[in-house]
Subunit: 307 residues, 2 copies
């Protein structure tokens, strides 16, 4: 485990993601600094305080407390919905210490970079865009766990304005949670995530939507079984969050939808012409790749348990 | 549990599906009749005999043993891959007792009905097409379990030529395994399954195929996480089986692919025009339907444990 220490970290949004980081730093990494939780109202951070995730709770509505919270902070973590990034950074900017490092956890990065440039101007070098690829089905401060980031990937998308030291500090913070840290451009990140995360969500929502439109939808749902269950698990995800992700990552997602539509049209053609050889070859390629991917995950999990 | 007894049942293909039926009848329903397992070679049924799933093992290659096995059978269950249905029924036909009831477990039904008509001619009334909607990730006789069918749906697609008594006997057999039994036409069955099972498999295979075609496929796979895992679990299914299902259920599957492509095009349009309201409304409908479906499953499971 990488050594990591801090004096004060300010977390905007102390739910599953922000709360788990707080727990990971204190319980896994043994860091002793002050953790300040900030919420849109004091009510929204009270539960995190009750649970001991944070040392103090501050409301965005309380200007004086908010200013004090930011004073001398080593880190500011923005763990609020992506659409709030720009207004939050604008609120933070006037009180931002020159030594404070900011980072975020948003699922899309091009839009976050644009928001950070707009809100922070020539101080954007203090902001390191980040995305921990981790989650659980439950949300909120009660869902926060210290091990959420163990063996998960965290992507950092450093800006040309970031100094190596600033990026290193953010990387060290995530390494201390048990995650592995990768660097890529915001464009690469958004393209990769569009492919392996955003597109599958859209496809899963679309299957349920299609069945709902059928006149015999109830009959169809009543005979859905395990394959449907797994395929549509992500269709129970937050509509607001996925609306925002789809729009924030529009360009990359449209590219992926078009590539997918082409593959599906090719499969359709093979089915229509009863081209069993083409279907079997494609299904075999998929099975092999999926199985290898899963085994890679299994090997990783085995390493973890040996630690 | 429905009372059910038999003197002799002959099972073609004693793997997960056929073997689990044998175990369910004996271990759950307490039926005491003889279970004969038939395989393409004696080797393929030896393991089922070792495991005690069957009382005797017969090879299709041994004409005399095969003829004896069919004599006085109450039931013949065809639990072999769908494409083998017609040749198997042709092999059975010359030795078929007038009192023997045949049924199958195929994932598609229109093609099975056509195969049965072609192979059995005017004795097709002895054949009741069926499909237990159950499975496990593992296969073969070692995977057979007595509880595979508990609280699962079994669909029967009776033919006009079936007498009510014949259909009732097959229904009683499945009820004795703990399943619930539903009747619909082969057309209805194939349409429903195309929608909630066959299409999701095609869509899942297509996502992996699309990523494989990307120049940065390895990078993409390395950042795939939980959503991808669930969505593509069924992309590790048997390529041969799904090739056959796609072709056997071609007409219904093409209809579903076209309906799906339309929904996806509508989603694409909403993303391209940043129509957040349309996206959120559709995602919300999907989440609600998916959540209700899941809860229905939970209620069913609760009923089971109360029995």
């Amino acid at each position: 485990m990488a050594a990591f220490s801090f004096n004060k970290i300010v977390i905007f949004g102390v739910g599953l993601i922000g709360g788990s980081l707080a727990r990971a730093l204190r319980e896994r990494a043994g860091a002793t600094g002050e953790v300040v939780g900030v919420g849109r109202s004091i009510k929204s951070v009270e539960r995190a305080l009750e649970l001991g995730l944070i040392d103090s709770a501050v409301s965005l509505e309380d200007d004086r407390a908010f200013e004090l919270a930011l004073r001398d902070a080593d880190f500011v973590l923005v763990a609020a919905p992506v659409a709030q990034t720009e207004p939050l950074l604008r609120r933070i900017a006037p009180f931002l210490d020159a030594r404070t490092i900011l980072t975020d956890v948003g699922s899309t990065k091009n839009d976050v970079v644009a928001a950070a440039r707009a809100a922070l101007g020539d101080r954007v070098g203090q902001f390191v865009p980040g995305h921990p690829i981790a989650g659980r089905e439950s949300s909120g401060p009660d869902a926060a766990i210290p091990d959420l980031y163990v063996d998960r990937n965290v992507v950092l998308c450093p800006l040309p304005e970031n100094s190596p030291e600033v990026v290193e500090r953010v990387a060290d913070m995530w390494l201390a949670t048990g995650a592995s840290v990768h660097r890529m451009t915001a464009e690469q990140h958004d393209s990769v995530l569009a492919s392996v995360s955003h597109l599958p969500h859209v496809l899963s929502f679309a299957l349920v939507e299609m069945i709902l439109q059928a006149p015999d939808a109830a009959l169809k749902f009543s005979f859905a079984a395990g394959g449907f269950r797994d395929f549509t698990r992500i269709a129970a995800s937050s509509p607001e969050m996925w609306r925002d992700v789809c729009i924030a990552n529009r360009a990359a997602l449209l590219t992926e939808i078009d590539a997918y539509t082409n593959v599906l049209a090719r499969f359709r053609q093979a089915i229509e012409t009863s081209d069993g050889a083409a279907l079997e070859a494609a299904f075999e390629r998929s099975r092999t790749a999926r199985t290898e991917w899963q085994q890679g995950g299994a090997i990783k999990a085995a390493d973890e348990s040996a630690q």
